[in-house]
């Protein structure tokens, strides 16, 4: 309890032989002490005419854990009558000179102090000492919140602007309360990564001291302003935070907390904050039936800008629970209820997600997610049932079947684990026949016929590189494609780099050429691309060769196809055909075709089936009517070649009509 008292120590100073008059009075005041408040080493002197000029030196002045030393209070016109002291206009110098007034009544044991640091700003303390208990009341009007910066731990973001209005009370009998309105609050830490601005919020706190601890309850209503807490940005729009708990010397406990996000749902939480260690010892966050669309729009979307998850449409609800122990997430539970998510750019979509994902840091859990359908790059996916084994930072799926159009992708033994931000995973699988016609139509690329099927050996991803161990086998265009030594560095980076050796056997030219409006060809071809290197999906180097497959099968080439093949080196064939009787034929026979390209430094060194005078044979005629195509330009700029394929313009290939 607060003790107070005033003793007059010295009264007199002599002035020669003149009548003895007291010119200065020195006073020593007892220390004032109350829980969380103390004033020590007070020395006062009354000076000047009528000794009304007060100079009060305060050795130490403490509120809570904050102390000031060597503060000085000046009052030019102090009224001092028996048990009443009044100062209508004084100043206190605590590093900053602040105008104040105060009034002390010894009879009533009351102290009233008003600080007016700035125009329209006032901090008023009304105190009543003595029995049964001291009472303190602080009334703030237009109080600058920046003044509180030095009261807060340096590790917390500091207030830089804003005002406070309201009343705080404290009773020595053990109750405290506050009703405050915060306006235009701005705060930030040194990095600027935890900051808020233009915040308007109302705060109500009630607390009671019982059995050595404070029981408290609070309500915070966040009406306006924005907070950036990296990576989240949230705007205040009527969110309400209710919390109640216990405060003691060791911990701050939130026993019942509820955060009401208008339009999304309620988030319930509890937590224990270890004051000595300065960290969350335990916390539990739980939300039931939260609207995922609202949660995404209000909380997650600003943080995901410029990522593949930055523009999504969500539907459905979820239950989310998180457990924190010793400052780290120890468990999580996610229940999805008819959740759908769709990329507005139509890159992917998942529909009808249902399931539960329990996760514990230290033990094995089983999760199961079902999906009624989806879409990837506009290719429809069917229903998926995904059982998952989770343990810490490891997840496994023994079998996953994804229906794709009329076929399916099967993935077996998917095993992923993460260490810090680095993840690595592996799986094997196969692709059961998918109609190429339907697949290419869905992808919006030239329609191809045939089916796509594949055997996928072990695929692994580690240190930003995806590798296929063994041969990746595809069946397309009625032939086989084998990719070996396949590796993809930085698949999600700006410069993905793919290397592989590719072998194609017995591709059906009819299916292939129909796909690319190339002009029809019948026959079969083999192709080999060795040392293929694509950077940023552009070829940098390869040795490629395409030749007619061995065997007996019809070999026909349409007039249009002849022209287009010729166009790889020039457009002479078109003129040659048009000038001869051959223009009456739609199709020609051929014996063999072959074309090679060795790409180095953007130059394709071309070759054919065999050399011809000043050139090389691309198509060797056979049957009646037959046609041969000879190329003359062995060095072709790669980009130009690609352009020619697109535009068909040059004229350094000539068709020889037999």
């Amino acid at each position: 309890m607060l003790r107070t008292g005033i003793r007059v120590l010295a009264v007199l100073l002599s002035c020669g032989a003149a009548p003895v008059l007291a010119q200065q009075i020195h006073l020593t005041l007892d220390d004032l002490e109350a829980p969380g408040f103390s004033v020590k080493a007070l020395k006062a002197s009354l000076q000047g005419k009528d000794r009304r000029g007060l100079v009060l030196d305060i050795g130490t002045f403490s509120i809570g854990e904050r102390s000031w030393r060597n503060a000085r209070l000046l009052c030019a016109d102090l009224r001092f009558e028996s048990a009443q002291i009044d100062c209508a206009a004084g100043t206190i110098d605590i590093g900053e000179k602040i105008p104040l007034s105060f009034s002390y009544s010894g009879a009533n044991n009351t102290l009233d102090v008003v600080l007016r640091p700035a125009a329209r700003e006032s901090w008023q303390l009304q105190a009543r000492f003595g029995q049964p208990a001291a009472m303190f009341k602080v009334i703030v009007d237009n109080g600058r919140l920046a003044r509180l910066a030095s009261w807060l731990p340096a590790t917390l973001p500091q207030p830089a602007a804003g005002t406070l209005k309201g009343v705080m009370t404290y009773s020595g009998s053990g109750t405290a309360s506050a009703q405050l309105l915060i306006e235009e609050l701005a705060f930030s830490d040194a990095s600027g990564l935890h900051a808020g601005e233009k915040i308007r919020a109302g705060v109500e706190i009630r607390a009671e001291h019982k059995s050595g601890r404070w029981q408290w309850q609070s309500r915070l209503e966040w009406m306006a302003g924005g907070v950036f807490w990296q990576p989240l940005f949230v705007s205040g729009a009527g969110q309400v935070l209710n919390a109640a708990g216990v405060l003691n010397a060791q911990q701050i406990n939130i026993e019942r907390g509820r955060f009401v996000v208008a339009g999304a749902g309620d988030i319930d939480f509890s937590a224990a904050y270890d004051r000595a260690a300065g960290r969350v010892a335990e916390a539990s966050i739980k939300t039931t039936d939260i609207d995922i669309a609202a949660l995404y729009e209000k909380l997650l979307k600003p943080a995901l800008q410029a990522t593949v998850l930055g523009d999504l449409r969500w539907d459905g609800r979820a239950d989310i629970a998180l457990e924190v122990k010793d400052g780290a997430v120890a468990g999580a539970d996610l229940v999805l209820k008819r959740v759908s998510v769709e990329d507005k750019g139509r890159r992917f979509a998942l529909f009808g997600l249902e399931g539960s994902v329990p996760w514990q840091r230290d033990r094995l859990t089983m999760a199961r997610i079902k999906m009624t359908g989806g879409e990837l790059l506009r290719v429809p996916l069917g229903a998926v049932d995904l059982p998952l084994e989770l343990r810490g930072m490891r997840l496994r799926a023994r079998r996953l079947e994804i229906p794709v159009l009329d076929g399916r992708i099967s993935i077996g033994d998917f095993d992923a684990s993460g260490e810090g931000p680095e993840w690595h995973w592996r799986f094997s699988g196969n692709i059961a026949p998918i109609s190429m016609e339907r697949l290419t139509s869905s992808l919006g690329v030239p329609v191809m016929r045939g089916t796509l099927s594949a055997v996928i050996p072990t695929v692994s991803y580690q240190q930003s590189t995806l590798k296929v161990d063994g041969a990746l086998l595809f069946r397309v265009f009625d032939g086989d494609i084998t990719a070996r030594n396949l590796a993809l560095e930085s698949p999600l980076g700006r410069v993905p780099r793919l290397t592989a050796d590719v072998d194609m056997r017995n591709l059906d030219l009819d299916l292939l050429t129909r796909a690319y409006s190339f002009g029809n060809m019948t026959g079969r071809v083999d192709a080999r691309i060795s040392g293929l290197e694509l950077v940023n999906w552009q070829p940098v180097q390869f040795d490629a060769r395409i030749v007619s497959s061995a065997g007996d099968y019809p070999r026909k080439i349409s007039q249009a196809a002849v022209q287009n093949i010729s166009a790889l080196g020039g457009a002479g064939a078109a003129t040659a055909i048009q000038r001869s009787f051959l223009r009456f034929f739609e199709q020609f026979g051929y014996e063999k075709l072959g074309l090679g390209c060795k790409l180095r430094n953007n130059v394709c060194e071309m070759s054919g089936i065999e050399d011809a005078p000043q050139g090389f044979v691309i198509i060797k005629g056979g049957g009646i009517p037959a046609i041969s195509v000879i190329g003359y330009n062995r060095q072709v700029d790669w980009r130009e070649l690609v352009d020619r394929l697109k535009r068909i313009t040059q004229d350094n290939v000539r068709a020889i009509v037999k």
Partner: protein, 141 residues
């Protein structure tokens, strides 16, 4: 365009003035699909970053990257976007140095190429932009 010019001037200056024994023959204007892809991405991003260089929010570091110098110069709702831009730019810069070294057939030159770029980005920076001096202290150009 100012953006493209800044980037291009930097590259040309590098090609002309590149010094150092081992790097004397390095072709810093070498063009590969990877480098072209990176430059194109960086040029587009520069349009978004230019204002933040000018405001001092983002500065050029002495190791050839960029960094958030003063978050308080960025409106709160945009702060995460700036963080993402910086991360993406630094990823591209690292890839650019690596690809130039690789395209020259000298992957071991990567750190020297980075150091030279670091100096040149700063030399070609516009007045008012911030950069880290040799001691790592932010300095206004």
């Amino acid at each position: 365009m100012k953006t493209a010019m800044w980037l291009r001037m930097g590259l040309i200056a590098l090609a002309l003035e590149f010094s150092g024994q081992a790097l004397a023959q390095a072709n810093l204007e070498i063009n590969t699909p990877a480098i072209a892809g990176l430059q194109s991405g960086m040029q587009q991003r520069h349009l978004q970053l230019a204002g933040f260089y000018a405001s001092g929010a983002v500065g050029l570091t002495r190791d050839g990257s960029i960094a958030l110098r003063d978050a308080n110069a960025v409106p709160l709702p945009q702060r995460q976007q700036v963080n993402s831009l910086i991360a993406a730019e630094n990823q591209d810069r690292a890839a650019l140095y690596r690809e130039i070294a690789r395209a020259n057939g000298k992957p071991e030159w990567e750190s020297d190429i980075r150091a030279t770029f670091a100096q040149r980005w700063i030399q070609k920076a516009q007045p008012g932009w911030y950069y880290q001096n040799a001691g790592g202290v932010w300095t206004r150009k």
